[in-house]
Amino acid sequence: MFLINCPFCGERDQSEFSSGGEAHIVRPKQPTELSDDEWAEYLFMRKNIKGIQFERWNHVHGCRKWFNVVRDTSNDKILSVYKMGEKPPVNYK
């Protein structure tokens, strides 16, 4: 069970959070101009990495804020936490 450091509330038990999948997938500004394949890329395609992964979490039973997490999926260690709209830390690729 993770301990997640919510950027607004501090360390809380994982049971207070819900996971929202891969981070930094930006909704296209002009969906109408995309081909089916391009739209499908946005809509369906997600990475499934063994290693360092950027993901979205929501403090759903807390402040209800969404934020980003850098997690190593091979050992579940959370390496960094940062707010929505902030750039991912450069030291993780």
Binding site: M1, F2, L3, S18, G20, V26, R27, P28, Q30, P31, T32, L34, D36, W39, A40, L43, R56, N58, V60, R64, K65, W66, N75, D76, M84, G85
Partner: protein, 1000 residues
């Protein structure tokens, strides 16, 4: 009655005699006994029958690893408990226990016949035998297997015991109160770490606490005496909490551990009453020290499972801790030094014993001591067979060949009444691996060891492969100093004398002259898998240890292979000619020992099992005999039966009343989201398929919300209360998810929008009054409100007061009737409802529930998201193209509406169905076909909603059908079990297509 209690020990209180029943017979033990030690004191070894062959089995161990001595405790329907390990159950006055898996009784067991037909039931027997014919599985094989499977009996009534949960945080958690755990806990606590020490036994001290051999000493004292001092000392430490009778069940990530504390299992019935039975500790520790010790390995030879064959160290504990000898003429069979401790202890108490040692020779101090006491030792010998049915009475030994692969010379037959075996020690690495740690293999003594210790957890003592006392203490101290970054000098000058050596001769499957196929060399005692089974699995092509485990069921019993897994691995490695270390292990999964369901659920039982949400009108519904339906967590009135009506009759009456005069529905459960901000209109434009910017203040609009994949997600009416203020309603079940989805978009995709969302579902109660007389009832409630269609038309909103309390009134309709929804602050909801009922009396205002609501809306062809949709329906599939704005630049899901898949013409589409026989009511979920003759039958769709309409006097249904839009008037068939029902595809709107009733 024989008495095997041969001396007094400080752990058994002989002044407190305890009577208990085993298999219906009364016996006596003492306070401090376990059920197992009390049985052994009474000379009882035979405690059960094995799972497959029903062979007689006896107590093997003295702890959590016990495979055989598992019993059924108690006989009450609500309190009986199966699969309890007698070796861990503390004896109490009035305890009732019985053996399992035997009929009619443990001494004569009919299933014992399986032992003689055992060549017919090899590994994988079930897989191979019960395959064909296929039709036999359900009716013949499965019931038979179920009859003979399973060990104990489950309770058949709810558990009346109380269980508890507790959350705690510590700097350091130490698991295991043996010598290394005590040292670790002392070092941590003395250096200002808030520390928790847990141990599953009643007292601390592990196996050192009863050690009494004077060739093993610490600071010139017996190691047990030294340890008792240490325990006295740590009990004084203020920041150390000690929890005994507490076992760690699971070690999860981020040092989150679950522990089970036994509070009353050792108490007599009358003292258990009203007390918490077990407590689940949810522990977060910054650092964890694992000091779980090791368990002794059995040896694998022919007939190694007879009652009276135990682990050598267990014989020692029964003797020195409980004062009980396991026999009077004992043979110890070993491949290492530890059996010599047992031998010397037995000798000191006058118990005759001899040693059979696999090693060619050995010369530690301990062995010299044994030799000097005149104990007979057969070096380089192996036990090849044992005899005795209900208990061992003799055995055969032979000399080992030079390479240890065969036996040589003549058999020697030795008589005995007990055999102790020691195959060396297996470190308990369960906690380490559960936490995500990897293992290394140490070839010299064939053990798996914790590989790396992280900065958060560390293994010390024999669970780390340090078996002798000197190593245990020195290494533990060094490791803990480093782990906690401290410099503790307490043990700097400790002087340790340990006369044991680690030398061992490991042979996984001991050689025998008899062909393997004719032997019974057990590996897993509880699941009856033998060395032969493992080899058979390999012959048949299984290679992965995980596959061999499942095929032979080795390690899959309630003891989870604590004694058997290493031997299975060893034999696989030997047979396949690979190094054991390269095979890896099976996965060590929680819990370490079985947990009761009660512990896991704690207080969350009965009415605390799940949150129940009730509207403020709930009491009225109860008083008026409503039947309730669960909608999410809500309790909603389903229908209100009158004068013994069944559901059908009640719904027919309610539906008719709503259309003929007036009906009232508690609509408080609909999700309500308050939306404010200067960009509120733009926000709604983006989340709904239709346009919102031009909605006038005081007007309402129905909206359909999609997922980004274009599928219908939710629907509801939203009201514009003022320029920048809307009130959105959602489906009852979708409320929480819709809010989350809206918040997600607002925070992550459109943070520039000035919009604030607040859930107000619980803040307002809603009474919805519909029917031709609804306006008259509203007029009585709100005499000053102009209810004319000009002033207050359909899809508009007014505010008024009811006895000075503000009400929001929406004229919106889910029934197709003229209809008003009155919203009031929840605390006035009950009064509002009662006033509505009072005002409606003269108009036969009839309360109706969700079933009637569903029927009325189906007559009008209104969809219910989640009933008529299932996450694969687009607005177009629902024939709702009218609600999708063509002009809007974008909204959630828009682009998906013209993907190649969503524009397919042959998608499943919503249609109406009319049965040829108007009295025939279709079953919801029934399949729809056009032709029942050609096989396979082509499934076209299914029925989503179906009712008998009292207002139309016929059966109506909604369904999704492939290409349904083009099929109006076409005949289709609903094939049922005993008949085919003929239907005709119709329009989805069955009543008042022109919407005349809305403004009647």
């Amino acid at each position: 009655m024989p008495n095997y209690r041969i001396h007094k020990t400080e752990y058994i209180d002989e002044t407190k005699r305890v009577s208990f029943k085993y298999d219906g017979k009364t016996y006596f033990g003492y306070e401090g006994d376990t059920l197992a030690s009390a049985l052994l004191a009474n000379g009882i070894h035979l405690v059960g029958r094995s799972f497959k062959y029903h062979r007689p089995r006896g107590i093997v161990s003295c702890g959590a690893e016990e495979p055989n001595a598992i019993c059924q405790i108690g006989s009450k329907k609500d309190l009986t408990e199966p699969n309890v390990r007698a070796t861990e159950l503390e004896l109490y006055e009035g305890l009732e226990a019985s053996s399992q898996n035997c009929w009619p009784n443990v001494k004569f067991d009919i299933g014992g016949i399986n032992n003689f037909i055992s060549p017919l039931i090899p590994a994988g027997f079930y897989y191979k035998t019960f395959m064909w014919p296929k039709s036999f599985w359900k009716k013949v094989y499965e019931p038979l297997i179920r009859l003979s499977a399973g060990l104990g009996k489950s309770p058949t009534e709810p558990d009346p015991d109380i269980y508890d949960h507790k959350y705690v945080h510590y700097d350091v958690l130490v698991i295991g109160g043996g010598v290394s755990g005590i040292i670790a806990a002392k070092m941590a606590a003395k250096n200002n770490f808030k520390t928790l020490l847990v141990d599953d036994k009643k007292i601390l001290g592990g196996s050192t606490i009863y050690q009494n051999n004077d060739s093993i000493k610490i600071d010139d004292k017996l190691s047990s005496e030294w340890l008792k001092n240490e325990i006295q000392e740590i009990k004084k430490l203020s920041n150390l909490t000690i929890k005994t009778r507490t076992s760690i069940a699971a070690y999860h990530g981020y040092n989150f551990l679950l522990a089970k504390e036994n509070l009353t299992d050792h108490l007599p019935e009358e003292k258990k009453k009203n007390k918490i039975r077990q407590r689940l500790w949810k522990i977060r520790a910054k650092k964890v020290v694992i000091a779980t010790g090791s368990i002794e390995r059995p040896l694998v030879f022919n007939n190694n499972d007879r009652p009276g064959i135990l682990l050598s160290n267990s014989i020692n504990k029964y003797l020195d801790y409980y004062g009980v000898t396991c026999g009077e003429n004992i043979i110890l069979f070993t491949n290492n030094d530890s059996a010599y401790e047992t031998s010397i202890s037995l000798h000191k108490k006058g118990i005759k014993n001899i040693i059979v040692d696999l090693r060619k020779s050995a010369s530690s101090e301990l062995i010299k001591q044994a030799e000097s006491l005149g104990i007979k030792i057969y070096f380089n010998h192996v036990v090849t067979n044992t005899f005795g049915y209900r208990k061992i009475n003799s055995l055969e030994i032979m000399k080992l060949s030079e390479d240890g692969n065969t036996t040589v010379g003549n058999k020697i037959r030795l008589s005995c009444d007990c055999l102790g075996m020691s195959g060396g020690w297996t470190p308990m690495v369960h906690m380490h691996t559960q936490s995500g740690g990897k293992l290394d293999f140490r070839d010299e003594d064939q053990v798996f060891l914790p590989k790396e210790n992280s900065e958060d957890q560390i293994s010390v003592g024999s669970c780390n492969g340090d078996f002798d006392l000197e190593n245990i203490i020195d290494k533990t101290v060094n490791k803990i100093n480093k782990f906690l970054d401290i410099d503790n000098q307490d043990y700097q000058d400790t002087n340790i004398i340990c006369s044991k050596e680690n030398d061992k001769r490991n042979i996984w499957l001991l050689p025998n002259k008899i062909p393997l196929g004719k032997t019974k060399c057990f590996i897993d005692f509880q699941n009856d898998s033998t060395a032969k089974d493992i080899k058979l699995a390999l012959t048949e092509g299984f290679r992965s240890i995980e596959h061999v485990k499942r095929y032979t069921t080795t390690g899959m019993a309630t003891d989870q292979g604590k004694l058997s897994n290493m031997h299975a691995l060893g034999i696989i490695a030997d047979t396949a000619g690979v190094k054991m270390g390269t095979l890896g292990t099976t996965t060590f999964r929680p819990p370490f020992t079985p947990l009761t369901f009660g512990t896991l659920v704690g207080r969350n039982v009965g009415k605390f099992f799940e949150v129940v949400r009730k509207t403020s009108m709930h009491e009225w519904h109860v008083e008026n005999n409503a039947e309730f339906e669960n909608v999410g967590q809500w309790k909603r009135p389903w229908y209100y039966p009158k004068n013994g009506e069944n559901m059908h009759d009640a719904v027919q009456r309610e539906s008719k009343a709503a259309r003929d005069s007036a009906g009232i529905l508690d609509a408080s459960t609909l999700g309500k989201i308050d939306i404010q901000g200067t960009d509120a209109s733009e926000f709604l434009n983006r989340v709904y398929t239709n346009a919102w910017s031009k909605l006038a203040i005081g007007k309402c609009r129905y909206g359909l919300m999609l997922n980004e994949d274009g599928m219908v997600y939710d629907d509801g009416v939203t009201t514009r209360i003022s320029e920048n203020h809307y009130l959105m309603t959602t489906t009852t079940g979708g409320a929480a998810n819709v809010l989350s989805k809206l918040e997600d978009y607002l925070q992550t995709e459109w943070p520039e929008l000035d919009v604030y969302l607040t859930s107000v579902t619980d803040h307002y109660s809603t009474a919805s009054i519909c029917g031709p007389n609804s306006k008259k009832i509203l007029n009585k409630l709100f005499p000053n409100l102009d209810l004319s269609d000009e002033n207050f038309p359909h899809m508009s909103f007014k505010e008024d007061k009811l006895e000075n309390i503000n009400c929001r009134i929406m004229r919106i309709s889910f029934t197709g009737e003229q209809s008003y929804e009155i919203n009031i602050e929840s605390k006035y909801g009950h009064s509002l409802w009662k006033m509505c009922i009072e005002a409606g009396k003269e108009f036969n205002l009839t309360p109706y529930g969700t079933e009637t609501m569903h029927l009325l809306r189906a007559e009008k062809g209104f969809i219910i998201v989640g009933q008529d949709t299932d996450g694969t329906m687009t607005p177009s599939d629902l024939q709702m193209d009218w609600i999708v704005s063509k002009k809007k630049f974008d909204f959630i899901g828009k682009r998906s509406l013209y993907r190649s898949d969503t524009v397919r013409e042959d998608r499943k589409q919503l249609v109406g169905l009319l049965t040829d026989d108007p009295k025939e009511i279709l079953e919801e979920g029934a399949q729809i076909v056009s032709d029942v003759k050609s096989k396979p039958i082509d499934m076209l769709g299914h029925v989503t909603s179906s009712y008998f309409s009292p207002n139309l006097n016929k059966s109506i249904a909604l369904a999704v059908v492939r290409s349904g839009k083009t099929m109006k008037g076409q005949k289709l068939i609903i094939p049922m079990e005993n008949k085919n029902i003929n239907v005709t595809v119709s329009d989805t709107i069955f009543l008042d297509k022109e919407n005349k009733r809305l403004n009647a």
